[in-house]
């Protein structure tokens, strides 16, 4: 079980958080303009990387804020945490 550093509350147990999948997938501003394939790409396709992955988390049983996390999925090491809207750190 991870210990996660919420950017608003500080260190908390993983059980207070929920994972929200891959980060930086922007909802298309004009969905009606998209073909079925383009929409499906947004809706269904995720990278599911073994290694460094950018993902979304929410402090669900806490401040309820969403934030981003860079995590190595091969060993669960959390490399960085940054707020929504902030630029992802460069490797």
């Amino acid at each position: 079980m991870f210990v996660i550093h919420c950017p608003y509350c500080g260190e908390r147990e993983q059980s207070e958080f929920k994972a929200g999948g891959e980060a930086h997938i922007v909802r298309p501003k004009q969905p009606t303009e998209l073909s079925d394939d383009q929409w499906a790409e947004y809706l269904f396709m995720r990278k599911n990387i073994k290694g460094i992955q950018f993902e979304r988390w929410v402090h669900f049983h806490g401040c309820r804020k969403w934030f981003n996390m860079v995590r190595d999925t091969s060993n669960d090491e959390i490399k960085a945490i940054y707020k929504m809207g902030e630029k992802p750190p460069v490797k």
Binding site: M1, F2, V3, Q14, K18, G20, V26, R27, P28, Q30, P31, T32, L34, D36, W39, A40, L43, R56, V58, F60, R64, K65, W66, N75, D76, E77, M84, G85
Partner: protein
């Protein structure tokens, strides 16, 4: 039975404290300090069980938690009975009752033993191969397998014991209180770290604490005396907590560990009442020091499993610690110096050693020379090729090894014995390290896996790190601790160590035999009866991956997880397959390290504490009025209110009729309520619901349907505009938390520019719904000032008002199709307002109804329940709710998905109504719906989602989803049941009052 198996008094055993216990229905005696295993051995008993597959007689093999064979059932036929208890771990107490497992009728005469003679036809994968076909026979096979196999019996009565969970936070956790662990814990605690030291045994000091030999000294003191002083000192340190009988079960990422503290398993049953039996410790440690020690390896040769064959280190412990000799004609068989340590200890106590068989051709350590001086015959370069004796070993035969160790040469020598100790060297106990995600490396010199890469702030020290001899352990420990704890010095900088141990080892994973392998039984996994022959067979049949071989042969899959034999299995695989050890990796060690009881896992969360439950403010009234409850999420909801002699059906029929004939009242407090405020609140609702919200007037209510981005219905409910920038949204009872979460997600991550604030107010309000033709009269009595005329207060509108001084919101909305008012008051007034409604409704026979009647009433009107009539594969179009999907809005969550090629298919499952040919026949929810049963396979068109007998329509009604159902009105379909077919007709899902006349009646 002779009692002279107690060789010399031991300070760990209290011989003045005699304890009687029963084993297989016979009474025996032991002493305080004994384990069941040591007490049985002292009584001359080796045979304790039968093996799993071949039912071979098996005895005690080890003296610790790695024991594969000596597993027993405690307290048979009582509520405290427990299977698979290791006799080597359980401490005896007055009244202990143990029996052998896996044998019938008795351990001495076991009918399953016939399997031993059938073993040529019981090879690896036997169960897979034989019992696969035909599939329809599986039930019969399973019955047969379960009867003849199985390890122990589970209790049939509730567990009388108490368990609990406890969180512990510490700076440094030290696992294992052997010599390394004690030194580490003392160093850590004395440097100011809050330290926790755990050991699975009831005492501290590991194996060094009973090391009485002159050959192993620390600072010129016998190692055990030196360690004893250290232990006495650490007991006095304030910031060091020590827990014995505490086994670490799991080591998860981020230094989160689970340990089981055993508190009453060693005391008589009558003293256990009101005490906690096991405590599950949930430990979060900043740093972890693994000092988990090592396990001695057995040797793999023909018939290496007979009772009387033990690990050499176990024989040493039984003699040194428990003062028990395992045999009177002992032979030791080894490939390294460890067995000579055992020999020294046996000699010290005057126990007979007949011979030592050593794989190595040259051995010259001081230890060996001392043994030779005692005229003990050492067969150098020899191996055991076979053993004899059915229920107890009585003879072995040995032969000389060829130079390359691949064959045996020369002639056989036979040696009588009653006990054989084997030592194949040591395997570091890296189980916890690997559980934590640690990576191992293979050390070629002595063929062991040792920790390589640490995934968290942890370190392994001592023999679990591959440092097996006292000088190796102690020469390095000071530096390691300084580096790990980041401290300047320790008390152990210049220890003077004497250790006469030579590290050479001749490692042969599978010892050669004069017989072909097919005629031998060299056991690798004792508990699961897997032999080297099985492993070779698996490789011949094409298995390569260690994980596959493991599953096919069941090697390492017992309750001991193959602690003894896994390394040999790997060795044999790599030798046979010609690959290098280490390339193959190891199998994965999974938690728990030793089995946990279910009680430990659930702790206090049993019975009414199994889960938290939520009560509405009106809950007590429901209880007083004999409601039956159903669980909806964590809520307890009134399900129906049976009157005397009423069953559920009668009660629901009465409640449903009363609600439509006069008046019904429902506690709807559990509905999710989200307060929405902000200048962009209307725009926000436009984006999350399928219909339009901008034009909703203040004081009006609207039903909304919420989709997932994939276009599937996610939740529904009525939302009311309280003010220009203020709405209150209701969600389904079960969906409240996830809907709020989803809305917050969009607000924070997709539309942060919107000025909208969401607050969950589900628990802040009690919601009372009064419905029926007389509801208006009742509400007018409760709130006399409120103008209830249809002009002033029409359907789908809301009023802020007061009941006496209590502020309330009244919505005129309906989930039943009847005229209906929903009163929302601050939760703590809920009960009193409810009472007022009941009082006012008395003259109208106001009838409280529960969720079942609510479901029935809405089904009569064809209203869906999200989650019952939908299952995340239904779009609003599938539900025939096209009317609620705005054509004008540019976008809302899920809109684009509504015209994907898949969602516009005409033959999707669509919601329809069903009526039965026989109006009395009520369909089963979940039943399949088909058109034609004549050709096979029968095409499944869909299934029934809701079904009731409607007392208002006096017929059976149902909702269902059917492929292309929209265009099947009037179509006759069939519901095939186990012993009949029910004929149904597809109808409109709205069964009652299609014109909605009743809303304003």
């Amino acid at each position: 039975m002779t009692n002279n198996l107690r060789v010399k008094s031991s300070k760990f055993i209290d011989e003045t404290y005699k304890i009687s216990f029963r084993f297989n229905n016979k009474t025996y005696y032991g002493y305080k300090g004994d384990t069941l295993a040591s007490a049985l051995l002292a009584n001359g008993i080796h045979l304790v069980g039968r093996s799993f597959k071949y039912h071979r007689p098996r005895g005690i093999m080890t003296a610790g938690s790695e024991e594969p064979n000596a597993i027993v059932q405690l307290h048979k036929n009582t509520s405290r009975t427990e299977p698979n208890v290791r006799a080597t771990e359980i401490e005896i107490y007055e009244g202990l009752e143990a029996s052998s497992q896996n044998c019938w009728p008795s351990v001495n005469f076991d009918i399953g033993g016939i399997n031993n003679f059938l073993s040529p036809v019981l090879p690896a994968g036997f169960y897979y191969k034989t019992f696969m076909w035909p599939a329809s026979f599986w039930e019969k096979y399973e019955y047969f397998i379960r009867k003849s196999a199985g390890l122990g019996k589970s209790p049939t009565e509730p567990d009388p014991d108490m368990y609990e969970h406890k969180y512990i936070h510490c700076d440094v956790l030290v696992i294992g209180a052997g010599v390394s662990g004690v030194i580490a814990a003392k160093t850590s605690a004395k440097n100011g770290f809050k330290t926790l030291l755990l050991d699975e045994k009831p005492y501290l000091g590991g194996s060094t604490i009973y090391q009485n030999s002159e050959y192993f000294k620390i600072n010129n003191q016998i190692s055990s005396s030196w360690l004893e002083k250290e232990i006495n000192e650490i007991k006095k340190i304030d910031n060091l907590e020590i827990k014995t009988r505490t086994s670490v079960a799991a080591f998860h990422g981020y230094n989160f560990l689970l340990a089981r503290e055993s508190l009453t398993d060693h005391i008589p049953l009558h003293q256990r009442d009101e005490k906690i039996r096991h405590r599950l410790l949930k430990i979060r440690a900043k740093k972890v020091i693994c000092a988990t020690g090592s396990l001695e390896r057995p040797l793999i040769f023909d018939n290496n499993d007979r009772p009387g064959i033990l690990l050499s280190s176990a024989i040493e412990k039984y003699s040194n610690f428990f003062g028990v000799t395992c045999g009177q004609k002992n032979v030791l068989f080894t490939n390294n110096d460890s067995a000579y340590e055992t020999a020294t200890s046996l000699l010290q106590k005057g126990i007979n050693i007949k011979a030592i068989i050593d794989n190595r051709e040259e051995v010259d350590s001081k230890l060996v020379k001392e043994i030779e001086k005692n005229n003990i015959k050492i067969y150098k370069g020899y191996t055991v090729v076979d053993t004899f004796g059915y229920k107890r070993i009585n003879r072995i035969s040995i032969m000389q090894l060829s130079k390359d160790g691949q064959k045996v040469v020369g002639s056989k020598i036979s040696i009588d014995c009653d006990c054989l100790g084997m030592s194949g060297g040591w395997t570091p106990a890296v189980h916890l390290f690997t559980q934590s995600g640690g990576k191992l490396k293979f050390r070629e010199d002595d063929q062991v896996f040792i920790p390589d890469k640490y995934p968290s702030d942890q370190v392994s020290i001592g023999s679990c790190n591959g440092e097996f001899t006292l000088d190796e352990i102690l020469s390095d420990i000071s530096k390691k601790l300084k580096d790990f704890l980041n401290i300047k010095k320790t008390d152990y900088e210049n220890l003077e160590i004497q250790s006469h141990f030579n590290k050479t080892k001749r490692n042969i994973w599978l010892l050669p035999s004069d017989k072909i392998i097919g005629k031998t039984k060299p056991f690798v996994d004792y508990q699961n009866d897997a032999t080297a022959k099985d492993i070779k067979l698996a490789l011949r049949e094409g298995f390569r991956s260690i994980e596959h071989v493991k599953r096919y042969t069941t090697t390492g899959m017992g309750t001991d997880q193959g602690k003894l034999g896994n390394m040999h299995a790997l060795g044999i695989i790599s030798e046979t397959a010609g690959s290098r050890m280490g390339e193959l990796g190891t199998t994965t060690f999974r938690p728990p390290y030793t089995p946990l009881t279910f009680g430990t896992i659930v702790g206090r969360n049993v019975g009414e504490y199994f889960d938290v439950f939520r009560k509405t403010p009106i809950h007590d009234w429901h209880v007083e009025n004999k409601a039956k409850f159903e669980n909806v999420g964590q809520w307890k909801r009134a399900w129906f209110y049976p009157k005397e002699n009423e069953g559920m059906h009668e009660a629901v029929q009465r409640e449903s009729k009363a609600a439509r004939d006069s008046a019904g009242i429902l506690d709807a407090s559990t509905l999710g309520k989200i307060d929405i405020q902000g200048t962009d609140a209307s725009e926000f609702l436009n984006r999350v619901y399928t219909n339009a919200w901008s034009k909703l007037a203040i004081g009006k209510c609207r039903y909304g349907l919420m989709l997932n981005e994939d276009g599937m219905v996610y939740d529904d409910g009525v939302t009311t505009r309280l003010d220009e920038n203020h709405y209150i949204m209701t969600t389904t009872t079960g969906g409240a938390a996830t809907v709020l979460g989803k809305l917050e997600d969009y607000l924070q991550t997709e539309w942060p520019e919107l000025d909208v604030y969401l607050t969950s107010v589900t628990d802040h309000y009690a919601t009372i719904s009064v419905c029926g033709p007389n509801s208006k009269k009742i509400i007018s009595k409760v709130i006399p000032n409120l103008d209830l005329s249809d002009e002033k207060f029409p359907h789908m509108s809301f009023k802020n008002t007061k009941i006496d001084k209590i502020k309330c919101r009244v919505m005129r909305i309906s989930f039943t199709g009847e005229q209906s008012y929903e009163i929302n008051v601050q939760a703590n007034y809920g009960k009193s307002v409810w009472d007022k409604c009941i009082q006012a409704g008395k003259e109208f026979n106001i009838t409280p109804y529960g969720t079942e009647t609510m479901h029935l009433l809405r089904a009569e009107k064809g209203f869906i329940i999200v989650g019952q009539d939908t299952d995340a594969t239904m779009t609003p179009i599938d539900l025939q709710m096209d009317w609620i999907v705005s054509k004008k809005k540019y976008d809302f969550i899920g809109k684009r998905s509504l015209y994907r090629s898949d969602t516009i298919r005409e033959d999707r499952k669509q919601l329809i109504g069903l009526v039965t040919e026989n109006p009395k026949e009520v369909l089963e929810e979940g039943a399949q719906i088909v058109l034609d049963t004549s050709k096979s396979p029968v095409e499944m068109l869909g299934h029934v989602t809701s079904s009731y007998y409607s007392p208002n329509l006096e017929k059976s009604i149902a909702l269902g989803v059917v492929k292309g159902g929209k265009n099947m009105m009037g179509q006759k379909l069939i519901i095939p049941m186990e012993n009949k077919q029910i004929n149904v007709t597809v109808t409109d899902p709205v069964f009652l009052d299609k014109e909605n006349k009743r809303l304003n009646a």
